[in-house]
């Protein structure tokens, strides 16, 4: 089975290539899930579409045990909308081939949760989001759990499929040095069917100024609030 894990380095700020070290929790869970599913003869490839700063995430994936790491190089994806980013990633995925694509549920920056489903749309394959467990079943099928607000669903599906995960096994070997380097994948080699961006041009982004929490006066108030939680 060819398993592709989509990762990216969390951005420090909008319209900035500066990134934070580490992975978004969803990407970390996706990577750990892919590595845990790997059996003899399987490939686990980490893939990103973004600036050189994404190499940090890809190198982390290599150290954790991914066999290959690919970064799609194209300035168009720097502040891309969902559709453009998904188109670019789908182009890369068609090139590598895939059986199972794993993505994080949402990034720790824009947190749209849309990249995985959008990539699945471009590739015309099914997707399932908010997944907490993926296991192999008989006959090449996969069993997975989707966690909802108060319930869970146990699903069975046959690859090719894209799964966006919230939780996964613990990533254990990320500090192991890797001899493998991140490879570049140029868009010039790809045929992109759609490149018109759909960004909202009239948006405004503001920092949150100071504490926004409604402050409780006493522990009594906290107890009352927590009693409503049960």
């Amino acid at each position: 089975m060819k398993i592709i894990v989509l990762v990216r380095s969390p951005r420090a700020a909008p319209e900035s290539d500066e990134t934070l070290p580490g992975l978004s929790p969803g990407d970390r869970a996706a990577l750990a899930t892919g590595l845990a599913l790997r059996e003899e003869g399987d490939e686990v490839i980490a893939m990103a579409a973004g600036p050189p700063a994404d190499d940090q995430a890809l190198q982390l994936a290599l150290r954790a045990g991914a066999g290959q790491a690919l970064r799609i190089i194209d300035p168009a994806v720097r502040e891309a909308d969902l559709r453009t980013l998904a188109t670019v990633l789908a182009g890369g995925l068609r090139k590598t081939g895939f059986d199972l694509i794993l993505a994080g549920q949402r990034s720790a920056d824009w947190a749209s949760g849309g990249t995985g489903p959008a990539v699945a749309h471009m590739l015309r394959i099914p997707h399932v989001t908010s997944v907490t467990r993926v296991e192999r079943a008989a006959d090449g099928e996969l069993q997975l759990t989707q966690r909802r607000e108060r319930t869970s669903l146990h699903l069975v599906l046959r690859p090719p499929v894209l799964i966006a995960v919230t939780h996964g096994p613990q990533l254990t070997a990320e500090k192991t040095p890797s001899d493998t380097s991140v490879e570049g994948l140029s868009l010039a080699e790809m045929t992109l069917p759609f490149r018109r961006p759909l960004l909202c041009t009239d948006r405004e982004i503001r920092p949150i100024a100071g504490p926004t929490a409604k402050m409780l006066e006493t522990v009594e108030g906290l107890v009352d609030l927590l009693r409503q939680w049960r």
């Binding site: 947190a111 471009m122 399932v128 100071g210």
Partner: protein, 327 residues
């Protein structure tokens, strides 16, 4: 006239409160901006008509019309893999300028791909705000440090939004909504539901309680007891894990996992960007910290400036006094 479609999520054949809240907000926008508000209801069997039927409920919560997508393959729970095609068909028949979903797991499986199918702009986990006679779609991004505000214009470029519930839904009138049927073809999906919905175990379905570097090993034990009294589980900050107060598997944030539960009680956690990166957008945060300027208070809905150790002691005492406590 513009069309606003609101997706209705069902729980045991009744519309969820979050869906009715979303329908209320759709009514606000439709009335102010001059649009027709549709409630979109996929269902496996055609609903009955009486005072308490779902069509009457949707009418009372603001729907002008109800789009009924009836097919035996459309029983809840919905996934895009099973219901997506029918939803796209409804949007082709009634082209929307705005599609509103209640922010939920089901919506976050359906909405982004519907947005891509419609070539629409997608904004999840948002609220509507009215400012100077215009509506804004507002949400927090970048680890809850920034807020993005986008104008809602019902233009030729549609928007798909998942909306946070901000209160209880209200009855807005008694006019009966017109029912329109959409006949969608539903193909056999590659994804099948083997079991479910299955109730989550308490420790998974309950709130999450997090401890930070402001605690010590004795208070971490109390944290576990408080989590148990609330029917939840515990997590920890990187500082607490590095200090050996909790196992690294409990770590939340860029070095660890994510809090997905709807409620999070953070005790002695300063709220560094790396930690807040692990809080889902829908998670309501209540923070306790001795420092009133701690960044966690900018990420929380409620806060208490107090010593976490004393608060834990008091919580244990008070929560266990309650007859409903500790399962």
């Amino acid at each position: 006239m513009a069309n606003i479609l609101t997706y209705i999520e069902l729980d045991q054949n009744e519309a969820t409160s979050a869906s009715l809240w979303a329908l209320n907000r759709g009514r606000d926008v439709a009335s102010d901006l001059g649009a027709t508000l549709y409630a979109v209801l996929p269902c496996a069997t055609t609903p009955t008509y009486d005072d308490e039927d779902i069509i009457a409920v949707l009418s009372r919560h603001g729907a002008d019309k109800v789009i009924l997508i009836s097919h035996h393959g459309l029983a809840p729970p919905a996934l895009f893999a099973t219901h997506g095609e029918a939803l796209v068909a409804a949007c082709h028949q009634f082209p929307p300028q705005l599609v509103i979903f209640p922010a939920s797991t089901e919506a976050h499986d359906l909405a982004p791909r519907l947005a891509i199918s419609l070539r629409a702009h997608y904004t999840p986990n948002a609220t509507f705000e009215k400012e100077d006679q215009r509506y804004l779609v507002v949400r927090r991004i970048f680890r809850r440090r920034l807020v993005i505000r986008e104008p809602l214009t019902l233009s030729e470029h549609p928007m798909v939004v998942t909306l946070h519930r901000g209160g209880d839904p209200e009855h807005l009138g008694d006019d009966e909504a017109e029912v329109v049927m959409v006949h969608a073809s539903v193909k056999t999906s590659q994804v099948r539901i083997e079991q479910g919905p299955v109730d989550l175990p308490d420790a998974e379905g309950g709130p999450t309680v997090g401890g930070g570097g402001g605690l010590n090993s004795a208070t971490f034990e109390q944290l576990e007891l408080v989590a148990r009294a609330l029917g939840g589980s515990i997590v920890a900050s990187t500082t607490a894990c590095s200090a050996g107060l909790a196992r690294s598997a409990r770590r939340v944030g860029l070095d660890g996992s994510v809090v997905e539960s709807p409620r999070y009680l953070a005790l002695g956690i300063s709220g560094s960007e790396r930690h807040v990166a692990g809080l889902a957008p829908h998670t309501e945060v209540v923070a306790v910290n001795t420092d009133p300027s701690a960044p966690i208070f900018a990420s929380a809905q409620h806060g208490l400036v107090a010593d976490a150790e004393g608060v834990l002691r008091e919580l244990l005492k008070r929560l266990n006094e309650d007859p409903g406590a500790a399962g």
